[in-house]
C-alpha cells in the first residue's frame, strides 16, 4: 500500500470499499498490529502505535473481527468469547457476557454448543461478539457480510449501527457498496493500495468515481 491516509473520529463509522486486492484487509491488519508497516504513522487515541503487537493494541481498546470470521471451530461459543475477553478494560467478564448475550440472544441460547455447529451468519455474529469481549473503543470489521444471506447481513448491520450509537468507533471493510453508504459517516474507496476517492457518505453517493472503481468505462 502506498500513501494511504485515513482519519477517524470517536464514535464514527468509516467504511472502506474497493475491489479485491485494493489493500483493505491489509490496512486493517496493519492497524491492529498483525502486519508491520514499512513506513508511515498510525496513531490511536492520539498516541503513535505503529509497530505495537496485536495484544498491545487490543489492550489499548482495539477489537479486530477478521475476514472470514475465523472463530475457534472446536471450542464452544462461551469458550470463544472467553478467548476474546481482556482483563483490565474496565468491564468484568460477567458484564461483557451479559452485554454480548443481550446483543446476540442467539449466542446465549447456544452457549455450550461448539462453534462448528453454528451457521455462517451465527459464526459471524460470534466473531463480532468475540471482538466485543475486549470492550473495544474502536472495532475493525473485515467484510462481515462475506458469504451470508441478505437477511442475515441485514441483522448484522443493524447490530453494527447499534454499536455505533453506543459510541464505539467502527472501521468497516465492505464489498457491498450500497450497504456501506447506508451506514457509514465517511467513505474511503481504495484501489491498488491507494485511496481512490474519499468523502462523507452523503456527498460521495452517486459519485462517478465510485462507479468507475467497479465498472470502468471503456474509453
Amino acid at each position: 500500500m502506498h500513501g494511504v491516509s485515513l482519519e477517524l473520529f470517536a464514535g464514527e463509522v468509516v467504511c472502506i470499499i474497493g475491489p479485491n486486492g485494493a489493500g483493505k484487509t491489509t490496512l486493517l491488519r496493519t492497524v491492529s498490529g498483525l502486519c508491520r508497516p514499512i513506513a508511515g504513522r498510525i496513531a490511536f487515541k492520539g498516541e503513535p502505535v505503529q509497530g505495537a503487537k496485536p495484544f498491545q493494541m487490543a489492550r489499548r481498546g482495539l477489537g479486530h473481527c477478521p475476514e472470514g470470521r475465523r472463530v475457534f471451530q472446536h471450542l464452544s461459543v462461551e469458550e470463544n468469547l472467553i478467548a476474546g475477553f481482556l482483563p483490565g478494560r474496565g468491564k468484568s467478564r460477567a458484564e461483557l457476557f451479559e452485554e454480548v448475550y443481550s446483543l446476540f440472544p442467539m449466542l446465549g441460547e447456544r452457549r455450550t454448543q461448539s462453534a462448528s455447529r453454528l451457521s455462517g451468519g451465527q459464526q459471524q455474529m460470534l466473531a463480532v461478539a468475540r471482538a466485543l469481549m475486549g470492550n473495544p473503543e474502536l472495532l475493525l470489521l473485515d467484510e462481515p457480510s462475506l458469504g451470508l444471506a441478505p437477511i442475515v447481513i441485514h441483522q448484522i448491520f443493524e447490530i453494527v449501527i447499534r454499536l455505533a450509537e453506543r459510541g464505539v468507533s467502527i472501521i468497516l471493510v465492505e464489498q457491498n457498496v450500497d450497504l456501506s453508504f447506508e451506514i457509514a459517516d465517511f467513505i474511503y474507496a481504495f484501489e491498488h493500495g491507494r485511496v481512490h476517492c474519499a468523502g462523507p457518505a452523503d456527498t460521495l453517493r452517486g459519485d462517478e468515481r465510485v462507479r468507475d472503481l467497479y465498472l470502468p468505462r471503456v474509453a
Binding site: S32, L34, K53, P54, F55, M57, A58, R59, G63, H64, P66, R70, V71, F72, Q73, H74, L75, E79, I82, A83, G84, F85, L86, P87, R130, A131, G134
Partner: protein
C-alpha cells in the same frame, strides 16, 4: 474419581515387587504425560524433546545428592531446584523456538533433547559421562525415608493427583482457553488480543517444570542416572503416551501411560517379536482411534458434570 488413587494404593500395596515396580513406572509416565500434554494437547505444539527437562531434573538430583560432589541436599529442596532449572530451560528454549510452528518446532525441540543428552554424555568432570552417576542418596521427606517400591507408590500417587488437579485447573482457566485458541487458529488468537508468544512460553515452562519433577523422582527411584535413560526414544514414548491415550485429556494420558508401560512388559515373553507387535498395536490404535483412546471432550470437567448430574 477421588477413589481411583486410593484404589491404586490399595491394589499396589499387595502387589509383589515386580508388578509394583511397573505400577510405579506407569504412574511416573502418567505424570510426565500430563506435563507434556500441556504443550502437545492443550497448546497443540509438537514437542519431541521433552526428555531434556526430565534429564535436567534427574541430573539435578544426581549431582546434589550423591558422593559425586559430596553434596547431600534434602529431597524437597532438590525437587524445587530441579523443577526451577527445568522451567528455566523451558523458557530459554521457548524464547527462540516458539516462533516456529508445526514440523519445524518438532525438529528444533528434538535437537534440544539431543543436545542435553550429548552434554550429559560429554561433561565428564560433572556427570561422569556415559558411566553415569551411581550411589545416589535415598530420598527422604520430613523424616520419611522413601526407598522401597511401596514408598514410591505413595509418593507417585500423591504427585500424580497433584499434577492431575493442576492440569485440570489449568485447562479450565483463562490461560487454558487462550492455549486452546492458539491450538485452533493461532492467527485468529493473535487478532483477539491474546499474547500468543506469552501463553506458549508459559505452557512450555509449566510443562518443563512437571518434567523436571518427574526427573528428580526418577533419579531418586533408580539411584543411578546415565545419559542412556534420556534418549530420543524416551521423548517419543512420552509423546506416544499422550497421543495414544488422548490428546488434551488427562484421563486419556493415564490410560496411555498404563498401556505404553504394560504392553511392552507383557510382550517380554515374545522377545524376538516384541518391537514388531508393539508397533503393530500402536498403528492399530491410531487407525481405530485417531483422536486417542479417550477423546478430548471426555475429560475431567465432563466427568465432574456427569457426577453432579446424578
Amino acid at each position: 474419581m477421588a477413589l481411583m488413587p486410593i484404589a491404586v494404593v490399595v491394589v499396589g500395596v499387595f502387589l509383589p515387587a515386580y508388578p509394583l515396580r511397573i505400577l510405579d513406572l506407569v504412574l511416573l509416565y502418567a505424570i510426565l504425560g500430563m506435563g507434556l500434554n500441556i504443550v502437545v494437547g492443550y497448546a497443540g505444539l509438537l514437542d519431541l524433546g521433552y526428555v531434556a527437562f526430565y534429564a535436567i531434573g534427574a541430573y539435578t538430583y544426581a549431582l546434589l545428592a550423591s558422593p559425586q560432589f559430596d553434596l547431600h541436599l534434602p529431597f524437597l529442596l532438590i525437587l524445587a531446584i530441579g523443577a526451577g532449572l527445568a522451567a528455566l530451560a523451558g523458557v530459554l528454549l521457548g524464547i527462540p523456538v516458539l516462533r516456529l510452528r508445526g514440523d519445524y518446532l518438532a525438529i528444533v525441540t528434538l535437537g534440544f533433547g539431543e543436545i542435553i543428552r550429548v552434554l550429559m554424555n560429554n561433561l565428564d568432570w560433572m556427570t561422569n559421562g556415559p558411566q553415569g552417576i551411581a550411589r545416589i542418596d535415598e530420598a527422604s521427606l520430613f523424616g520419611w525415608r522413601v526407598s522401597t517400591p511401596v514408598d514410591f507408590l505413595y509418593l507417585l500417587v500423591g504427585l500424580a493427583v497433584l499434577t492431575f488437579l493442576f492440569v485440570w485447573r489449568l485447562q479450565e482457566s483463562a490461560l487454558g482457553t487462550a492455549l486452546a485458541a492458539v491450538r485452533e487458529d493461532q492467527d485468529a488468537a493473535r487478532g483477539c488480543g491474546i499474547d500468543t508468544t506469552g501463553v506458549k512460553l508459559i505452557a512450555f515452562a509449566t510443562s518443563a517444570t512437571i518434567g523436571g519433577v518427574g526427573g528428580v523422582v526418577f533419579a531418586s527411584m533408580q539411584r543411578f542416572v546415565s545419559p542412556e535413560s534420556f534418549t530420543f526414544w524416551e521423548s517419543l514414548s512420552i509423546v506416544l503416551v499422550v497421543v495414544v491415550g488422548g490428546l488434551g485429556n488427562p484421563f486419556g494420558v493415564m490410560l496411555g501411560a498404563g498401556l505404553l508401560v504394560l504392553v511392552p512388559e507383557l510382550l517380554r515373553a515374545y522377545a524376538d517379536y516384541r518391537q514388531l507387535l508393539f508397533g503393530v498395536a500402536l498403528v492399530l490404535v491410531i487407525l481405530a482411534r485417531p483422536m486417542g483412546l479417550i477423546r478430548r471432550e471426555y475429560g475431567p470437567s465432563w466427568f465432574a458434570r456427569k457426577l453432579m448430574a446424578r
